[in-house]
Amino acid sequence: MAKIYSNCNPKNIQLNPKKETVDFLLNYSKALRVNCYKNMKFEALLN
């Protein structure tokens, strides 16, 4: 049986983002408004 010298990858990495990151994204989403004017689109962050 050949020996395998490569590092074994950690199997089934189960990781989750921090709560702060998710909260930030949800707040960002709530604050972001896209206003359309004719063919143009403007982003506005309303915090």
Partner: protein
């Protein structure tokens, strides 16, 4: 109440991504929350499997969803494929961007065997080295004093007064080539004296 909440969550799970995306575009902010919570682990793990750094993963994850949010809100998303593969593709592109940026400007995180502090050091001299430096500088000045006057003049103007050879030639009234020649002989003579007397001029 808790049961009701659970049922609601269960119902939510049954709602397909496409519907949630549509709801979100129509203004239902909670749809995004469901989408993120549904896919966050897959996306986060995918990014981590590429970058192997929790902080960078966090950044890329955040950037990925910022892109998702902006694209959805701008109405540029078209439900050609599925939501998750689309987000994965964005994450993948951002991971590539990250590696491109880092190959241009490598970062040492000091976590491995290699320590950046073995290369970097405090450039300020300690007391002993200061004394040696002063000694070396005064030795050099004394050797310069031994040079012929014309060579000494050019060398002092060039090295101590930081003048260009053009300025030196104007000041001394000789051609630039003569000034260059005198500088060359000055250095040759300095080397000769240093070698002859075995003077050590290193710190």
């Amino acid at each position: 109440m808790a049961l009701l909440l659970k049922v609601l969550i269960m119902k939510r799970k049954l709602i397909e991504d496409a519907v949630l995306v549509k709801n979100y575009i129509d203004g239902d902010e909670s749809a995004l929350s469901v989408l993120i919570n549904r896919h966050k682990q897959k996306i986060y793990s995918f990014i981590y499997s590429k970058v192997f750094d929790r902080d960078i993963t966090e950044d890329v994850f955040q950037d990925t969803f910022i892109k998702v949010i902006r694209t959805l809100k701008r109405g540029k998303y078209n439900e050609e494929g599925k939501f998750l593969p689309w987000v994965m593709r964005i994450a993948h592109n951002l991971v590539i961007d990250h590696f491109r940026r880092n190959s241009r400007m490598p970062k040492f995180d000091n976590a491995g065997e290699f320590s950046i502090f073995s290369v970097l050091s405090d450039s300020a001299l300690n007391a002993e080295k200061m004394i040696i430096k002063d000694q070396v500088e005064s030795d050099v000045r004394r050797i310069i004093e031994e040079l012929p006057e014309d060579q000494k003049q050019v060398l002092v103007m060039r090295m101590y007064q930081d003048m260009s050879f053009k300025e030196i030639s104007e000041r001394t009234g000789v051609s630039i080539n003569t000034a260059l020649g005198r500088m060359r002989y000055a250095l040759i003579n300095l080397r000769k004296v240093i070698e002859h007397h075995n003077i050590v001029l290193t710190n």
